[in-house]
Homo-oligomer: 347 residues x 2
Amino acid sequence: MSNGVNLKELSQRLNLSQTTVSRALNGYPEVSEETRKRVSEMAAKLGYAPNSQARRLATGRAMAIGHVIPRSIHEMMNPIFLEFIAGAGETYSRHGYDMIISVVDDDHEEDAYRQIASRKKADGVIIHGPANEEHRHKLLKQLNLPFVVHGRIPGAEQETSWIDMNNRRAFERATNLLLDLGHTRIALLNGLEHMDFANRRRRGFEEALAARGLTPDPALMRSADMTEPFGCDNAMEMLKSDNPPTAFLISSMISAIGVARAVGQCGLTAGKDVSIITHDDALSFLPNSGEVPIFTCTRSSVRYAGEKAAELLLNMISNPASKPVSMHLDAELIIGQSTGPAPAASR
Amino acid sequence: MSNGVNLKELSQRLNLSQTTVSRALNGYPEVSEETRKRVSEMAAKLGYAPNSQARRLATGRAMAIGHVIPRSIHEMMNPIFLEFIAGAGETYSRHGYDMIISVVDDDHEEDAYRQIASRKKADGVIIHGPANEEHRHKLLKQLNLPFVVHGRIPGAEQETSWIDMNNRRAFERATNLLLDLGHTRIALLNGLEHMDFANRRRRGFEEALAARGLTPDPALMRSADMTEPFGCDNAMEMLKSDNPPTAFLISSMISAIGVARAVGQCGLTAGKDVSIITHDDALSFLPNSGEVPIFTCTRSSVRYAGEKAAELLLNMISNPASKPVSMHLDAELIIGQSTGPAPAASR
DNA sequence: ACCTCCATCCAAACCGCTTTGGATTTGGCC
DNA sequence: GGCCAAATCCAAAGCGGTTTGGATGGAGGT
């Protein structure tokens, strides 16, 4: 027994009108400090809190942000998605917004957005994992639903708000590091390249090679969901080939761990016989810290991106006339134990 | 330009009352098939969808389920949590419910629940990761907010609805498997044992040993957040000790991967020199399948648990008088490549 | 004493839907 | 033809807030 008071009852108990009570609680100026105090005390005593549905209806704002995630969201996205959510969630709750997540069948994604708009379930949404061929932003514009992209939509950079890390640059720098260490046969284990982020990473890799007059060996480039076995299996295969790579550049810690497993199983040592650089999204359950991190990595916190994306979106919502805004985050290049000079001319 | 019609406009266009239109769309019987057809056609044409806030206010149901997760949710919970969410989310959307997730400061968890109740933000909640000392269920009872526990609250099994896997039994079986293979020095790398699930797993382990007259060696039992380094570091330390274990029993795939890394670094082979059994929550980004899975494991799908938990909760909500219900899931014991007979009297 | 101007407070409309309690029409049956 | 029940449909009352457009009363100015 603790709840059940509504505005009407509260105002009756106070011998005040609902108007005054509402204004007192919402900090409007046309109510004396004394009554305001009286009101908030009584409200606290009776445990009054405004019914959110009623408030939303009256104000016309849903006070919620939607995230629609297709059921078969690609495996590698999963943990990253959660970390992003955690960051965004903090921002939302700090601003009194709810976060609503819709898990939908892949072919119902568009429906989900339409429903959010037509039923007024949320004041805005976040687009996750933009692909090379992306259309969601068009739909959302048409639905007049504010949104922020986590990542970038190729060809729509100017007309959309987004937050992204500099994928191309990060992988370019990582590749250069390996080149500086004398590696020339570098393998790339990348995410699905129909995704924009993976596409950009590959370009960074290729451009760095090209700048030194090297051409990437297609046999050393793989692209798939970034699972652990993906890393292990491909690394194993490459290491056992006639012309194995001396270094690996990997798009995710999860797959990097797989690569490390393969390296171990081949009796090699990472950082000596083989070098590994991975991108590190700073996932909390895969810490790669310590004085000297296990993996040399390009690091960029997805959680932070989530916080910022949410802030961008909330700004857009409270300021609908504003121009598109974007944030470009640079990854840190952090030296760990998994890189070293290329072994001298192997057998 | 596509939305903006409300019930009033729709009914005017049809020369019908709002009542009739509402009833037609919601499938009530007191409207002729002909008008129903006319109504739904016009609704489709004008892109009408009921404003969810208004509907919620009128019906008094939030049509949403809340998940509050403390900001510092223990690291190992993270990916598991997401998988659970994915499962639950499917059930919700299939039933027209929204899922709202609140990320809150640890010391505001109680507030979060109170708000959900007093502001009527959700019709029910899921309790995640019950601890040995658990109090949330009392608060929720007092708030009169339906809930389902993912896991079990010790001492409140009868009076709460929950879904849990048989942790004790799973770890008992796993331990017996190792014992049958001749292992006697078995290490346990467990989750935080102030959590109910970890506590139960330890008991399963200890009881299996005790049944064969063995007492667990405290030096071989570790408990912490289930990160990858936790597995690697502890395994490394144990393997290098004077009296190393011949087998590892591990609470999470993530840490198991760390153990595998340590095993590799020590020049040993899993399944031959050292045996590994891990619990496998069937996380989608850590597949452990294939003809012969890499890890021998006790497997139980968290996603499935999420689906079922959501179903239990929705049932409770639509049927408030019902008695507490619970589901006990048994983990499969699956033989993979990481276990084998104990090596004959090692050096 | 009279008037203006604030400072407070209030009654009532409104947000968009569901639902109650009829009103009206239709059809079957004696 | 008259009557009753079933089939349709509707006006209006909520749901619980916010917000508009005053009303009221006391202070200050002349």
